[in-house]
Symmetry: C2
Subunit: 526 residues, 2 copies
């Protein structure tokens, strides 16, 4: 059994704090910089590589991080997790999202079944269903093919699947794998559902209701919204809806759905992209084979994350450096900057994944910790971000570590040559340039044009964004967040911080308020 200790109880961490910091500007200059870029690279799955040359670490620090990884038993804890230990202590649950894409360790039995077999069965049931929809064996009441899939869900049932859909939409269109358009309804704002429905041919749409408990108020409200719209067109909602839910939810056996696919309590919303939550909508949109490739990519990356040596384990190294930056160097935030328009909503997904997992103040035993935990996460695709908030990143008073992602090839392949280079070359040139600009800076006598440098970044480089490499990329960040949770000794798999707002909102709706809440309610005329 692993030993769960707070970060500041670990000897290796105390030693890490004593090490003098690295002057990134100096080490990244000249030949030393070139050597770093060549050497500080960790292979990932599906041709990706994590390069941390532009992080403010050197051999002393990475050696110490290695000791920290060993003392914090990161690999052992991951092993316990994938072998089915109750890692989610707050809710007393196993944490099994890795099993949706592969068997890393021993068979895991829960609820009387082999969970890998359970997740695989759901994947196969979805594949069969999606194939029938694509072949026109499952149709609307008029016998016509469905042409659009609309996911109804919020949080993890929305952000991950939406980000993955957008990431692969153009790839699928280019490679002949595009089956149906996907849309998403998430917000309880009635304008969200109304606008999506107004632009959707609902007679040919299949809706995926995603709610693990079957009680998420936003999602059930939006389901009613959709059912109203279907009935208004004389359509039977039960012929247009499927459910993704837990087997014990009231939705599981309801006749309101064409089919129900199952998830369970061992996969949190933000970790559910590779479960039926992502599986239904992505299999319908791109075909089950594409979804399977995505899972394979994630599974390959998970295997690498089981490696004990952080110098061979990109997720672990990324996690360790992030904790060094957060706790020793004191940086409050991390920016995620994919140089790929297809990853436009990937930062929003990571924002949930990371901030909901590790934005905690108590350790896994419920005791307050005296060090900072998860950082603020934000980001937009480059080069758009360059023309937006990079000013602060380059010359602001707060240093923000950066997490770049870049691919050598575009997805669609249509390009244009301007000033002797393609757009794809310009895109790649920009990300390379930014890394060096942030790290090395540039002296200028005009202080307004001076760049101090010393701003750390890493980059994940891949050949192309495909289902498999997207799976690997997603798994990398899921595993990074998990390892950081182990280091901070927090439970990365619950989210008690979302409860109080729900309770108070219900009181507002019941007009059971007083004091400030009552006055706000009046101002908003609820």
């Amino acid at each position: 059994m692993a030993d769960w200790k707070n970060l500041d109880e670990l000897t290796a961490y105390k030693e890490l704090e004593k090490l003098s910091p690295v002057d990134l500007k100096t080490v990244m200059a000249g030949e030393s910089g070139a050597e770093r870029v060549k050497n500080c690279s960790i292979p990932m799955a599906e041709g990706l590589a994590y390069n941390y040359a532009a992080k403010a670490v050197d051999g002393r620090i990475t050696d110490q991080l290695e000791k920290l990884a060993a003392e914090a038993q990161l690999a052992e804890k991951f092993e316990e997790l994938y072998n089915g230990a109750v890692i989610n202590t707050g809710e007393k649950r196993l944490v099994l999202h890795h099993l949706t894409r592969g068997q890393l360790g021993k068979p895991v039995m829960a609820d009387g079944v082999d969970k890998r077999a359970f997740y695989k069965e759901q994947q196969e049931r979805i594949a069969e269903f999606a194939d029938k929809v694509h072949k026109g064996e499952i149709t609307n009441a008029a016998g016509e093919k469905f042409t659009t899939v609309v996911q109804i869900g919020i949080g993890g049932s929305d952000l991950g699947p939406r980000a993955m859909y957008l990431a692969l939409e153009n790839w699928a269109k280019k490679t002949g794998n595009f089956r149906m358009e996907a849309k998403f309804i998430s917000n309880v704002d009635p304008d969200d559902a109304a606008a999506v429905l107004a632009s959707t041919d609902v007679a040919h749409a299949i809706f995926v209701l995603v709610s693990k408990s079957g009680t998420t108020l936003e999602t059930l409200t939006n389901q009613s919204f959709v059912m109203d719209a279907l009935r208004k067109q004389g359509l039977d909602p039960a012929k247009h809806m499927i459910a993704v839910t837990s087997e014990t939810s009231p939705l599981a056996s309801s006749k309101d759905y064409l089919a129900a696919f199952y998830m369970d309590d061992y996969i949190g919303g933000r970790y559910s992209s590779t479960s039926a939550v992502g599986g239904a909508v992505l299999s319908l949109a791109f075909g089950p084979e594409v979804f399977a490739q995505f899972l394979d990519g994630a599974a390959s990356e998970d295997k690498l994350a089981a490696e004990k040596d952080p110098k061979k384990n990109a997720a672990m190294m990324d996690a360790l450096i992030g904790v060094y930056e957060r706790n020793v160097l004191g940086y409050p935030a991390t920016a995620v900057l994919p140089y790929s328009q297809a990853l436009s909503r990937f930062p929003a997904h990571l924002q949930q994944l990371d901030m909901e997992s590790n934005g905690k103040s108590v350790n896994r035993f419920g005791d307050p910790v005296s060090y900072v935990t998860g950082p603020i996460i934000f980001g937009e695709p480059g080069t758009n971000g360059q023309h937006s908030f990079y000013q602060l990143l380059h010359q602001g008073k707060t240093i923000v570590p950066l997490q770049f992602v870049g691919f050598r090839k575009s997805q669609i392949g249509t390009d244009v040559v301007i000033q002797d280079t393609t757009s794809q070359q310009k895109l790649c040139a920009n990300v390379a340039a930014q890394i060096v600009a942030f790290a090395c800076g540039k002296q200028d006598e005009n202080r307004n044009k001076n760049f101090e440098g010393g701003r750390p970044s890493s980059i994940i480089i891949g050949d192309q964004l495909t289902p498999a490499s997207l799976g690997a990329l997603l798994a990398h960040f899921e595993n990074k967040v998990m390892f950081q949770g182990f280091l901070w000794n927090v439970n990365s798999f619950d989210q008690e911080g979302v409860q109080l707002g729900k309770v108070l909102a219900k009181r507002v709706l019941a007009h059971d308020t007083e004091g400030a809440l009552q006055v706000y309610s009046r101002l908003l005329e609820i």
Copy 2:
């Protein structure tokens, strides 16, 4: 002439630092909380109100902030700005975006013309052009009406206009003001342009090329991309494109465009939504009358921002409290959380507006400042954010001040009653609940379910998001950022921090690299 001093040179700031902090949790409890919500409200234009009851300030602190506003001469500086002083010291330029929507002070002459008249003329020329397009007097070569407008621009030419378009799209459809769909191409990633073009009927599309200098590489590259696509369909690009540029740019007199509308160097990209940059695309999409209402809303709010007393000036109070939170309380970030799906990209626009304006380390004279300046800005619409990163906001180790926005009515008006309340009521109940949850917290013996509270927020409440209230909302934030720039004594109107990356990217493309940059270039196969 105003006296430009660093924040830490101001007596009022030194006094502010000495004041003991407010225990937000205590003052927001019970009747005291109710009184605060009633009293801490500043009327804005177009029926909006800024409520700062849930900010950690009290009479002592707001009195001191008032003294700070006076000593920092915020109102006088704004007056100098709108009367045409060279406020953008780095680039030696006037700062005239307010003049695009109204005349706040004296006539401003520059380049030999009255600038208010110049901006109005551009607005009228755009209105005339848009009317002709809508009436079918300006058509494609086949004499058919244009049905889509595609903006080609990046940074301020993209984020602001895109956010405003999304904010009004559903309102326009509901009210019969929707004229044409708008799309946006921004990223140099070739997949961005390729995907937009693939989903666009280019034969019936009119493209708006936006580049002040006429030399923005991303934008010119994407223009070529579009021109290629048009030619491939046998279409003449010159019949499908208009330009928004400066009068001195090479584009201004080019025969490649159906028409050219002008901006100038006195309006930075991020402040250009109310200029021709936003004007062309929004007038084509919604009609010139709607754009005029948007400008009127902004102009009304600008007038209120000229008020000296911060207790009557929402933008000034917002700015002062933000500086207190950043510099005295030490909070690194601010989250923007509109409870309106229509404002889905408004936080991304504010991210640029704020971080590019005030993410600076030197004052307006080029001397390094020894205090922190602009915060990190991020956000997503509620209730989506609640199911994502709010966990960290409620229970994380870093306190993040929050900027809520909420409206009593939805835009489309279609709604559904579930559990006796509409979705709009649920939306409003959630924002009210969140403010109180963040401020007051909730004690729980289970520390994992404990909410410490003391997390400050403000809210801007309006009746409905319309063109006029959107204009007021935008102007509020532009003016807030401006006042904060005055307080920090930075130049909020240049962006030298974006230059180094551009220079290095050019060197990569010219294969003129060495050291780390060369190795990164090889890894990316440029």
